[in-house]
C-alpha cells in the first residue's frame, strides 16, 4: 500500500463533484497488498468485491479472462495475450513440431520460454469464466439499477514493469449498476480497471450488500460445481494442469501416472516426470478455490488425510506381498506395479515403513488368518533409499526393522493393508531359563539312552539340544569360515558388501545367515515365527547339518554350495 500512486482522476462519466478523495487503504477493511493477497480466509462479497474480481483478471490485459491458457509455469493469461511464437534456436530434442516454436512468458514473475505445444486453453478455467460471465450478465440485466460510482486507484508495484506501465495509464472512474461485485466486474470487462488497481466505491443509491452476497453465492455455486476433479469427483485439491489444458487434483494426476502417461481426458501424452515434483499447481485455480471456498478446501484436505491414513487401531500398515525379508537385513525392491507405486508414495509421506510378507505358496492354513494368499508373519521394512525413475518406476532400498504377525487385513486402493502385532524375542531371563531346562533335559535323556545301550547313536535333535546356545553360534561361525575357505559363491565379496559380514549378536546372526544362504525361502520363513534366539540358531544348525549331510552323500555334485 505504501507504493500507492494517485494520478489525476478523469470525471468523464459523471458530472458530480466528489469529496476530497480518501486513500483506499483507509476505506478498505482488509488492508491486503494488491498484487499478492494472502491466501487465507474467505472473501466477503461486498467488502472484498475488488479482490474477488481480481481473482479472474488477466495479468496482461486486465480484463476478465477470455479463453485462458494456463502456462507450464502455472500462471494463466488470455490466449490473445500470448506474445507471438518465436522459433527456438539450438533445440532439437524432443523433435516435435509443437516444440519448435515458443512464446516468452508474459507473466512478470516468470522469465521462461514456453513451447507452443504446452500453451493450450485451460479447459476448466475457460469453462468457469464462461459460466461466471453468463452469471454476471444475468444479474446485470435482471437487477438493472443499484448504481455505484467506482473510482480506480492506480497501484503499481515497484520495479521496471511498474515504472513502464505507469507512464501510459490514467485512472478511470465509472458510474455503473448492479452492486459492487457486478459493477467491478463490468469495469474490468470494459478494460478500465488495471488488475493491480484498487477501487474506491461511492454508493449512489441504497446499499448493495445483500445483492452482492446473493451474486457471490451464485458464483460460488458455479465454481463449486465446475471445479470437481474428473478422477475423484471431489473438489479439486491442489489443482494441477497438464500441457493439454486439463486439470486434476495433484494426487489424482500422480495416481493416473502410475498407470499410464496419457491424459485421462484427451489421451495426449503427458511429458512430465511421474512424480510431478516440478509441475507447478494451477496458480489461478488454487487462488480461486482458497479464496472462494476455503472451508470446503480445508474439509476436503482433512477428509483426504483421513481416507489415506486410517486411525491407529485400524488397518494402518501397508502390506507388500512379495518376498521374504528379515530383520536388520536389507531388501531391494523394484517397484513397477501401479498399486505399489501408490503405496510407496504414501509410505514416503508417512513414517517410511511398510510390512513385507511372502506369498503363501504352499497354501497352508495361516493361524487365525485361515486360508490366506499370504503368510501371517512378516517383517516391517523401513525405506532407507528411494530412487524414482522418470517413468514412475522406482528402486527402493529398505532395511528390516522388526517382525510382526498379521491380526487383520483388508484392501486399500488395490493393495493390502493390515493391523499387525510386533513379534519380540523372549526376555533374556526367559531365554536363559529355557536354555538351561532344555540342556538339562537333553543331558538326562542322553545319559538314560547310554545307560541302556552304551553304543546307541544319539538322535540329531538330542545332540543339538545338548549344545549351549554359544556352541550353536560357534558351530555356525566355523561353518561360515570353512565355506569361505572353499570360496563358496554365496560368500563372495559382492554379497558380503551388500549384507555385511556375519554379525556377532547371536540374535541377529541367523537373519544374516539366512539372507546369504541359498536355500528355499519357506525354510527361512520359520525364523520369523519363533521368539527365541536359541530356536533360531538351532534352525540354522539344522540347515548346516543337512547341507553337510548332502555334501557327504552326494559328493561333488552339490552345486549350490
Amino acid at each position: 500500500m505504501n507504493l500507492l500512486q494517485r494520478t489525476a482522476c478523469s470525471f468523464a462519466d459523471s458530472g458530480e463533484q466528489l469529496d476530497p478523495p480518501i486513500a483506499p487503504s483507509v476505506l478498505m477493511v482488509d488492508d491486503a497488498p494488491a498484487v499478492d493477497p494472502p491466501e487465507k480466509g474467505p472473501l466477503g462479497a461486498h467488502r472484498d468485491a475488488r479482490e474477488l474480481v481480481r481473482l479472474v483478471q488477466c495479468p496482461c490485459c486486465s480484463k476478465p479472462f477470455t479463453s485462458p491458457v494456463t502456462l507450464p509455469c502455472g500462471h494463466s493469461v488470455c490466449r490473445d495475450c500470448l506474445p507471438s511464437p518465436q522459433p527456438r534456436p539450438n533445440i532439437s530434442y524432443p523433435n516435435t513440431p509443437d516444440r519448435q516454436l515458443a512464446i516468452a512468458c508474459p507473466t512478470p514473475t516468470c522469465a521462461a520460454e514456453h513451447p507452443t505445444g504446452e500453451c493450450n486453453i485451460d479447459v476448466t478455467l475457460a469453462k468457469l469464466m464462461e459460466l461466471i460471465k453468463a452469471e454476471v450478465a444475468k444479474h446485470n440485466t435482471a437487477v438493472g439499477d443499484n448504481p455505484v460510482l467506482l473510482e480506480e486507484f492506480l497501484n503499481y508495484s515497484s520495479g521496471p514493469v511498474g515504472e513502464k506501465e505507469r507512464g501510459n495509464r490514467t485512472a478511470h472512474q465509472r458510474r455503473l449498476h448492479g452492486g459492487r461485485l457486478v459493477s467491478t466486474f463490468v469495469m474490468a470487462d470494459m478494460g478500465e480497471l488495471h488488475h493491480t488497481s484498487d477501487v474506491v466505491y461511492h454508493p449512489m443509491g441504497e446499499d448493495s450488500e445483500d445483492l452482492d452476497s446473493a451474486v457471490l453465492e451464485r458464483l460460488q455455486d458455479v465454481a463449486h460445481r465446475e471445479l470437481d476433479c474428473l478422477v475423484c469427483y471431489n473438489m479439486m485439491l491442489d489443482p494441477t494442469t497438464t500441457a493439454c489444458g486439463h486439470t486434476f487434483c495433484r494426487r489424482c494426476l500422480t495416481r493416473v501416472m502410475d498407470h499410464s502417461n496419457i491424459c485421462p481426458c484427451c489421451r495426449r501424452d503427458l511429458h512430465i516426470p511421474a512424480s510431478l515434483q516440478d509441475q507447478p499447481s494451477n496458480e489461478r485455480l488454487v487462488k480461486l478455490l482458497n479464496r472462494l471456498c476455503p472451508d470446503l478446501v480445508a474439509s476436503r484436505a482433512a477428509a483426504l488425510s483421513l481416507e489415506e491414513q486410517p486411525a491407529v487401531d485400524e488397518l494402518d500398515v501397508p502390506l507388500f506381498v512379495c518376498t521374504l525379508s528379515l530383520p536388520s537385513m536389507p531388501t531391494f525392491l523394484h517397484i513397477f506395479e501401479p498399486r505399489y507405486r501408490l503405496m510407496m508414495r504414501r509410505c514416503l509421506e508417512g513414517n517410511k515403513q511398510f510390512g513385507m510378507i511372502m506369498y503363501n505358496r504352499s497354501g497352508a492354513l495361516q493361524g487365525d488368518l485361515g486360508a490366506s494368499s499370504f503368510v501371517e508373519y512378516g517383517t516391517l521394512l523401513e525405506i532407507v533409499n528411494y530412487e524414482l525413475l522418470r517413468d514412475g518406476r522406482s528402486f527402493v532400498e529398505t532395511r528390516g526393522v522388526s517382525r510382526f504377525k498379521i491380526l487383520a487385513h483388508g484392501m486399500l486402493d488395490g493393495y493390502d493393508v493390515g493391523r499387525v502385532e510386533r513379534v519380540e524375542d523372549l526376555s533374556l531371563a526367559q531365554e536363559e531359563r529355557l536354555e538351561a531346562e532344555e540342556r538339562l533335559a537333553a543331558e538326562a535323556t542322553a545319559q538314560e539312552t547310554r545307560r541302556i545301550n552304551p553304543d546307541a547313536q544319539l538322535s540329531a535333535e538330542l545332540q543339538v539340544n545338548m549344545l549351549s546356545t554359544q556352541d550353536l553360534l560357534v558351530r555356525t561361525v566355523s561353518f561360515i569360515e570353512r565355506m569361505r575357505a572353499h570360496s563358496a559363491p554365496w560368500l563372495s565379496a559382492r554379497i558380503l558388501h551388500v549384507y555385511g559380514g556375519p554379525p556377532n549378536d547371536p540374535a541377529l546372526f541367523p537373519y544374516w545367515f539366512a539372507s546369504v544362504l541359498p536355500i528355499a525361502e519357506e525354510e527361512k520363513y520359520l525364523l520369523l515365527k519363533t521368539n527365541r534366539v536359541r530356536e533360531r540358531l538351532k534352525m540354522v544348525n539344522n540347515w548346516i547339518s543337512r547341507i553337510e549331510g548332502q555334501r557327504w552323500t552326494s559328493g561333488s555334485s552339490c552345486s549350490i554350495l
Binding site: V231, Y233, N234, V256, I262, R267, P338, M411, L412, D413
Partner: protein, 148 residues
C-alpha cells in the same frame, strides 16, 4: 473400508439421471457390485432384447476399469460364451475420466456395431464374415430366445 466418494457420486447420478435403455443397480451388501441391464439398440439384431450383465468396481477403481460380463447368452463376435467383452475402453484404453455410464453406453454401442475383424468369439466372427445375413438372423433368434 469405506466406499470412495467417486463411487457414491456415480451411483447417485446413475439413480437420479438414468441412461435410457440402461439400468445399473448396486447390491445392498456390496456397493461395488452392480446388476446391469442393457436394452438392445434399435435397428440391430439385438433390438427388443433385454440383456443382463454384472459389473464390479475393483479396489483401485477408477484407476483400473470396471469388470463387466454379460450374464445373458448373446451371439456377438466380440462377446464370448462366458460373456466376456472385447472392448478397448475396458482394457488398454481405459481412462479414469470414463465412468460406469460411459462404459455401459459403449457396450450398448458395441451391440449396434459388431466388429468381426477384432473377434473374441472366433467361431461367431467367422460365421459373421462368411454369412453376415445368417449370423444376424442367428443373433436375432438368440435375442428372442434368451434376452427376455
Amino acid at each position: 473400508m469405506s466406499l470412495p466418494k467417486r463411487i457414491i457420486k456415480e451411483t447417485e447420478r446413475l439413480m437420479a439421471d438414468p441412461v435410457p435403455g440402461i439400468s445399473a443397480v448396486p447390491h445392498e451388501d456390496n456397493l461395488r457390485y452392480f446388476d446391469v441391464t442393457i436394452e438392445g439398440p434399435s435397428q440391430s439384431p439385438y433390438e427388443k432384447g433385454i440383456f443382463q450383465l454384472e459389473l464390479f468396481l475393483p479396489d483401485d477403481y477408477p484407476m483400473t476399469p470396471p469388470k463387466i460380463r454379460f450374464l445373458t447368452k448373446i451371439y456377438h463376435p466380440n462377446i464370448d460364451r462366458l460373456g466376456r467383452i472385447c472392448l478397448d475402453v475396458l482394457k488398454s484404453n481405459w481412462s479414469p475420466a470414463l465412468q460406469i455410464r460411459t462404459i455401459l453406453l459403449s457396450i450398448q454401442a458395441l451391440l449396434g456395431a459388431p466388429n468381426p475383424d477384432d473377434p473374441l468369439a472366433n467361431d461367431v466372427a467367422q460365421d459373421w464374415k462368411k454369412d453376415e445375413k445368417g449370423a444376424i438372423e442367428t443373433a436375432r433368434q438368440w435375442t428372442q430366445q434368451y434376452a427376455k
